[in-house]
Amino acid sequence: MKTVRSLIAASIVAATGSAFAQVEAVDMAAPLFNANWQSSDVKAAFNSGYTGQGTRITVVDEYRATAQQITGRMLAAGLQRQTHGYWTSEEANLTAPGATIVRQQFATGAPISLAPTGLNVINASYGMVAAYGLTNVRLGGTETSMVSYAKNGQAVVVKAAGNDAVNMLTRNVYGQNDYLSVNLKGAKSAIFVGALDKNGSATSKANIASYSNRAGTDAVVQKQFLMAGVAANQTGLAGTSFAAPIVSGYAAILGSKFKTAGATQITNQLLNTARTDTINGYNVAVHGRGEASLTRALAPVAIR
């Protein structure tokens, strides 16, 4: 048996133009954000004021002060420099400002606590990477609880697909595999999220980002694979790490609308309402279910 401990957080593809100034940490309660990176769906949700109230998003990520500081811009106020976890949690917060955001350091062994009421969403913009082909890999307590919640439908677990530009659950160029994804495969409330190069529309279709992992040929993975636009040209931040919090935010918004729906129902709604007409050359083996659509996920199947 081999224990996989703290492994590599999702890689960040640096934006062009790195002469970014450092600014103070943002006030998460007052999101005067640079909304150009967000889809019109999120803007509409934000403007209406119904943005995830009564739900909790636990963003499991890297928050240690000693970790790499990354410069980017999500707020209109200016540039920020902070760790990966603060970026992903800020993005989830900006997508669903009404949701309670809980930051939890990954790979500490501490199980994730769930809110006793309301929808729980867990965002995992990182992977647990080790040599490909290992069997009987044991995850730490944090990740074990995450997998358990996904398998039992207790929380929507949104997992970044990875930035190796390979099919999900296949060997990357370093001969490694992401064992957190392996464990989440087939879990009833787990979603893998790949990155598109922008927010797609029927008239301006998006392409899969060059770094993003693909859904692959495994039908089980295809069924739980979504995509979201990562506007790196706006934020200076790229990677599937920044695709996953968007879907986490969507899940929270859905949870605030459909208060009695469980994590599995929310998960299925996001997967079933994904759009394929906003993606250039849609292919299930590449794009899975398609681009996550908050608008369609909120809408009824039929109305009269």
């Binding site: 949700a45 209406s48 119904y50 943005t51 918004i253 859905l254 605030s256 609308k257 459909f258 208060k259 729906a261 129902q265 929310i266 299925n268 709604q269 079933n272 309402t273 759009r275 007409d277 608008t295 369609r296 996920a297 909120l298 809408a299 009824p300 199947v301 039929a302 109305i303 009269r304």
Partner: protein
């Protein structure tokens, strides 16, 4: 309408051939007590007439109800050509030469209108003391003063019809099919002149219906009073109120599938982030914005 002649009491002399049975005759001079004592059927009318007389310090004022019912219902007795001018009326009453009472019962609508006139007359009596009220024919003294297709609430329905959304499966939902008017609201406004200085404003609207909304029919009533200030200037005051005309939006039945089931929802908000049940709180249920209107106008001719 048939005038019940046996309950019509005609008190006059020298009025010529009449189609009604003359059941009483009072020789002048007579008082209202005389009428009351001799013709109990006329009690109410007489009492009201007396009230009017008390209010009119300078002249006797004909009872508007009396004018309404008898001048319209018993036109053969009182053709328009007979209707006395104010001075004539005073002359008649003071001399006791001629007056009449009639128990003709108008149909329901006319009765309502007549009551409205009476109510209006009472309401405005203090300001109309010097006005010379004429007993006039309802139809001949009524004029169409306005007609309009549509209303502010029709515009509201039109504004609700803008836009749409997609279903979870990507089908387009257009709001205009729900908020397009099947029949547009039509309003007609009239004035019925009851004196040279006082008129009753009234009107009605037909209402409007769309698949997901209704504008109720409405009835509007009020009055217009004109006060000459000088030869070339006058004040006019009008007040109206509207009954009905409420805009009511109806809900839709939305199927959210496994995540939300079938729910009643505001048609326009079914695809928003709002809890479907909460959207029902945003159904429009609105009275006409101009339900009560008061207008004071000063006009000067030069």
């Amino acid at each position: 309408m048939i005038c019940r002649t046996k309950r019509c009491e005609f008190l006059t002399e020298g009025m010529g051939a009449l189609p009604f049975e003359i059941i009483g005759l009072l020789q002048p001079p007579f008082t209202f007590d005389t009428i009351r004592n001799n013709y109990p059927g006329c009690l109410q009318r007489a009492a009201h007439w007396q009230t009017q007389r008390k209010l009119a310090t300078q002249s006797y004022v004909a009872n508007p109800l009396y004018a309404e019912t008898c001048s319209t219902s018993c036109q053969r007795i009182f053709p328009l050509s007979w209707i006395p001018r104010a001075a004539d009326s005073r002359l008649f009453l003071e001399s006791g030469l001629a007056t009449s009472f009639c128990e003709c019962k108008p149909p329901a609508l006319k009765r309502i209108l007549a009551l409205a006139v009476v109510a209006l007359s009472c309401f405005s009596s203090s300001v109309a003391t010097h006005a010379d009220v004429l007993p006039v024919d309802f139809f001949q003294s009524t004029h169409l003063i306005g007609g309009k297709q549509g209303s502010s609430l029709s515009d509201l329905a039109k504004s609700l019809s803008n836009g749409g959304y997609e279903t979870a499966e990507g089908s387009n939902v257009r709001l205009d099919k729900w908020y397009a008017a099947r029949s547009v609201d039509i309003r007609l406004d009239f004035i019925t002149q009851i004196s040279p200085r006082l008129g009753v404003l009234w009107g009605f609207s037909t209402g409007e219906r769309g698949e997901k909304y209704t504008i109720d029919p409405s009835f509007k009533y009020g009055f217009l009073a004109v006060y000459p200030i000088s030869k070339g200037s006058k004040f006019s005051f009008s007040a109206t109120t509207t009954i009905g005309g409420r805009f009511r939006e109806r809900s839709c039945t939305a199927d959210y599938g496994d995540i939300g089931g079938v729910q009643q929802v505001n048609c326009r908000m079914a695809a928003t982030e709002m809890d479907p049940a909460q959207t029902l709180n945003h159904l429009v249920n609105q009275e006409p914005s101009n339900r009560n209107q008061v207008s004071l106008q000063y006009t000067i001719n030069f």
